[in-house]
Each structure stands twice: as C-alpha cells, then as structure tokens.
Symmetry: C2
Subunit: 191 residues, 2 copies
C-alpha cells in the first residue's frame, strides 16, 4: 500500500539489528487516518475469506485490527499478555517469544470470545519471524477455530515469517514488504 | 450515550468489589462499530476545546482513543507500560496504581510525541478513582502540554474520580455514568 510505504520512507528509522522504528505513526503515536486506510485495505483483500472474527495481540496490533474489523463488520479480540481479573479461570494460553522484551510472554484468550467453528482473520502490526502470529494460531486452534487469513502492516521478508506460516495454507497479506534495511535505506520488495 | 448504556445493561456483569466486566465489547473483545460511535460522540462533545493531540494509556484506552482521534483529525499517543527498545533513553515516566494488577505500573511517553504547547485531550475506557488519568496528566504537564479535556467511556461515579480531577478545571465527559451496582443491577446516573 503506497501510503504506508511513503510514510515508512519519510518517518521510519532503521535502528540496526533488524529493528525498524515506526513509533511516530504505529507503535506509540498512532495516525488514525492511516490506520483507517490500512483497515479498509485489509477488508478489501480479505473480503472473500468468510471471516467471522478478527484476532490480534495486544498492544500494537490493536489499532489496525480494530479498523480492519470495523470495515469488515466483525468483532475483534485481542489476546492479553496478563490475565485480568475479569477473565474466567479457564483460558487458552500459549507462550511466545517477545522480540522487544527478550523473553517469553504469555498470550491469553478467554473461551468466551473464541469458539469452535469461528473463522479467524489474524491482523498484527509486524510480520518478522512469525512467532507472535504462530502463538495466535495456536490459541485459535486450541479453541477449535479455523484460521482463514493473516494480514500485517509491515513484513520484514528477511526474517522468514512468511515461510514459517506457509504450512497453514491461508492468504498472507502485508501492506509494506521490506526486503532489506541498509543504513538509512529501507528497500521494499515489489508487490 | 444510549447505545453504550444499552450494551452495558445487556452484557455488562457486576463481578462484585466495584468491578464491571465489559470484556465482550471493550476490554478483550471489542465492538469496533460501537467504538466508532463512541469516538464520534467524544469528537462532538470536545469539538470546541482546541485539542492538538489525544492521549491515552495502553491497553484498553487504545480503541476509543483511536476512534476519537480519527473523528477529530488528530494524532493519538498511548502511554506505554514498558519501555520498548525503539524509545529514546530520555522519557517522561510516572507511576500509577493499577486496579487490576494490585501494584504500581509505569506510564511512559516519549518526548518525541508530546511537546510543550500541545493541547491534550485524554481518552480512556474507565473513570474510577482517576489514578490512571492523573498519571497521564502528570506526563502531559511534565512535557509542558496543557490538558483541555478528559473523556471516558464508563464512569463509576461512586469511586470519586471526577472529584480527584476537578482541580484541572477542564470538561470531563463520560458516555455512561454508573452510580451503583447492586447484584445484577447496574444503575446509571441521569445525564
């Protein structure tokens, strides 16, 4: 999606070690108009998959997942990383390595909001190694739900996430695919 | 706002101890159409305050803050509870008691996205004791920004948050004001 790529070129910063800083419009400060556009684009790309629910992980997935769900007319569930007191004792829980925290984090979904037979579209901010998304896949599968698609704002194709998710056999859509970051240069893959 | 009150009556659960469970449409599963409506309503109520930025706290404030910011044409910043590696070393940080975690949590904002002279509208899911919102106020004031309004989806008027924020002298708007929860009954204050 050109508007997102333009923004990454204008404001994204390569911090080295494969880390792309986009916290001026996605991860800390959010541009809601851009997120709305991204949500509209995901809704267009996943129109035919028959999704019944959007699933994401807190925190940075929430904004694009909410706008996508809005444009698809679906509810959205965000997996929690700590179990709030409002959640029942029996939950779906999996462990996932956190890139930014350097340790395993929990991903938790209540069975109240993810049921057998649901058709789940996963939306997240980044596709890097695919570890977080695989965690969401495990949660959905534990609930007896079916994954019907995966959408991310930014894919770092050099981290292999797409390959790690290929066995699912579902469409994987990223709105900006980065194949390399060298110094100040961010190089996109052709769509 | 009647649509929010209706939803609370239909799906909200009083868990006792002042805890209202609304995680079927706000805190875990999110109804994006309802959040869009709430954002539109906040935009209407705060049209005249001259806000330049919306500020919230992760996690549950993000959805209503993003939709409010969208309808006001403003950027939104969510205070982080852990400092990501993309954030500079010098940050605004304050401590705030967490109701659901039973301990103090950090609220962190990067000086990159909150500057002196900004006119900040705070949006959050709940107004209870006001402690989280007072934390956001301290962050904004540390940055030299001015608070111009506070909006929350649900206010529990019996927890005194409105009184704790009164000294700020800014409009405080809540879309559903609950004055008591008794057994299965949730009693709203008249608007």
């Amino acid at each position: 999606m050109q508007a997102l790529k333009d923004r990454i070129i204008r404001e994204g910063k390569n911090l080295g070690g494969g880390i792309l800083k986009v916290d001026g419009f996605i991860n800390h400060q959010v541009d809601p108009a851009l997120m709305d556009n991204c949500g509209r684009e995901f809704a267009r790309r996943f129109k035919g998959v028959g999704a019944t629910k959007v699933l994401t992980a807190e925190i940075s997935g929430i904004a694009p997942a909410v706008t996508t769900a809005f444009h698809m007319g679906l509810p959205v569930v965000y997996a929690r990383k700590t179990k709030p007191i409002t959640m029942p004792d029996q939950v779906y829980l999996t462990l996932s390595p956190s890139h930014t925290k350097g340790r395993m984090v929990e991903l938790i979904v209540s069975p109240e909001y993810l049921a057998g037979g649901e058709r789940v579209l996963i939306i997240d901010d980044f596709l890097a190694s695919g570890a977080t998304i695989l965690g969401l896949v495990r949660l959905a599968q534990a609930a007896g739900a079916v994954i019907v698609g995966i959408g991310t704002l930014i894919e770092k194709t050099f981290e292999g996430g797409r390959q790690a998710l290929a066995h699912l056999g579902v469409p994987i859509e990223s709105l900006a695919r980065i194949q390399a970051m060298e110094g100040d240069q961010i190089i996109f893959e052709d769509d």
